[in-house]
């Protein structure tokens, strides 16, 4: 289910949730919903800085809020870290979630997507290192990709 990690939201959407959040911030009455919506749209951004900011907000809600929202946060924290390629952190979150709800297919599938991605990128890294000559690297990678078919 690579799409869950590859999809990006629209910038207008992000601006909309950002505006709501900022307004509440000014009025000193930020709701969890507004924070969560803003954080989610940040995590869906294509820019690492946005994703990081989203993660920060999710961690804040996670630390101060109820069970229900925590569960949602953990899921999106895993997605956020995976998008930043911080896979081991991402897996800590999916693992924590699955400890509580082992049968949750949605999280199982995210967990295995992250593992696959880690493997795939690990393989390519190894191919490059093993190829020694940089020009060879590309060929080796291509060869690997083809032989996997």
């Amino acid at each position: 289910m690579d799409e869950i990690l590859d999809e990006v939201g629209s910038p207008e959407e992000l601006k909309k949730f950002e505006a709501i959040y900022n307004q509440q911030l000014e009025e000193h009455s930020v709701t969890t919903d507004a924070t969560f919506n803003y954080a989610w749209s940040l995590v869906r951004s294509r820019y690492a800085a946005d994703i990081r900011k989203g993660i920060c907000l999710l961690e804040t809600i996670f630390n101060e809020d109820r069970e229900q929202t925590r569960r949602d946060c953990v899921y999106y924290l895993a997605i956020g870290y995976a998008k930043l390629k911080e896979y081991s952190k991402a897996l800590q979150y999916t693992k924590a979630f699955l400890n509580l709800e082992p049968a949750n297919l949605q999280v199982q599938s995210l967990d295995s997507t992250i593992r696959k991605r880690m493997e795939k990128e690990g393989l390519i890294g190894m191919a490059l290192a093993g190829g020694a000559v940089l020009a060879l690297g590309g060929l080796v990678t291509l060869g690997l990709a083809l032989s996997k078919k």
């Binding site: 799409e3 869950i4 949730f17 919506n37 569960r71 078919k149």
Partner: protein, 215 residues
């Protein structure tokens, strides 16, 4: 090189919407895995599923976004409507309230998708006929009045689940052929992938998909 089982010439984007607990995720799971989940937790945000089907000899990859029905996700799940070629709108035949909310789901869909988006109404859990709270006839009438396609289905038995997903695709495909759906429009929800030799990138991202191996 490209021809293998994972190649396809179109991608259609679908969304599944409706109140929480009506069985959206179970319908998706039944369609992609041919299995029923008896104890399905509420979806967090959105889930994703995919399957390659064939319509008029063309392979089509369905990219299906299954949205969470719980109210608190509504603001964000709305952003997935945009660019959907097909929308499966689900209610539960044993819970009247889920049927009563259809007009608001429909308004949202019409506002957030485009005129060529095919909307298919599914009355789910038809295996529970004894607990029925919405008659077939009234739902059928609602569908006709609003120009929706309609079936009663069961994610549990699998009855008419395929039909709902496939008929939606056929209708979308028809619109493409009639020229009613503009493939170049940014938000048509359809991508055309002319088959060429050497499109390794396409087959690469297809590895996890086991649905086409059913031959």
């Amino acid at each position: 090189m490209s021809g293998g089982p994972y190649s396809y010439s179109y991608i259609f984007k679908y969304i599944i919407i409706g109140d929480m607990g009506v069985g959206k995720s179970c319908l998706l799971h039944q369609f992609t895995e041919k299995k029923f989940m008896a104890d399905c937790p509420h979806t967090i945000g959105v889930e994703f599923g995919t399957r390659i089907i064939e319509v008029s000899g063309q392979k089509i990859k369905l990219q299906i976004w299954d949205t969470a029905g719980q109210e608190r996700f509504r603001a964000v799940t709305r952003s997935y409507y945009r660019g959907a070629a097909g929308a499966l709108m689900v209610y539960d035949i044993t819970r009247r309230s889920t049927y009563n909310h259809l007009s608001s789901w429909l308004t949202d869909t019409r506002n957030l998708t485009n005129p060529s988006t095919v909307i298919f109404l599914i009355g789910n859990k038809c295996d529970l006929d004894g607990q029925r709270d919405v008659t077939y006839e009234e739902a059928k009438q609602f569908a006709e009045e609003n120009g929706l396609m309609f079936v009663e289905a069961s994610a549990k038995t699998g009855e008419r689940v395929e039909e709902a997903f496939l008929e939606t695709a056929k209708k979308i495909f028809q619109s493409i052929q009639d020229g009613r759906l503009d493939l170049n429009a940014a938000e048509s929800g359809v991508q055309h992938k002319p088959s060429q030799t050497g499109r390794t990138t396409l087959s690469n991202d297809q590895q996890p998909n086991k649905d086409t191996c059913s031959c």
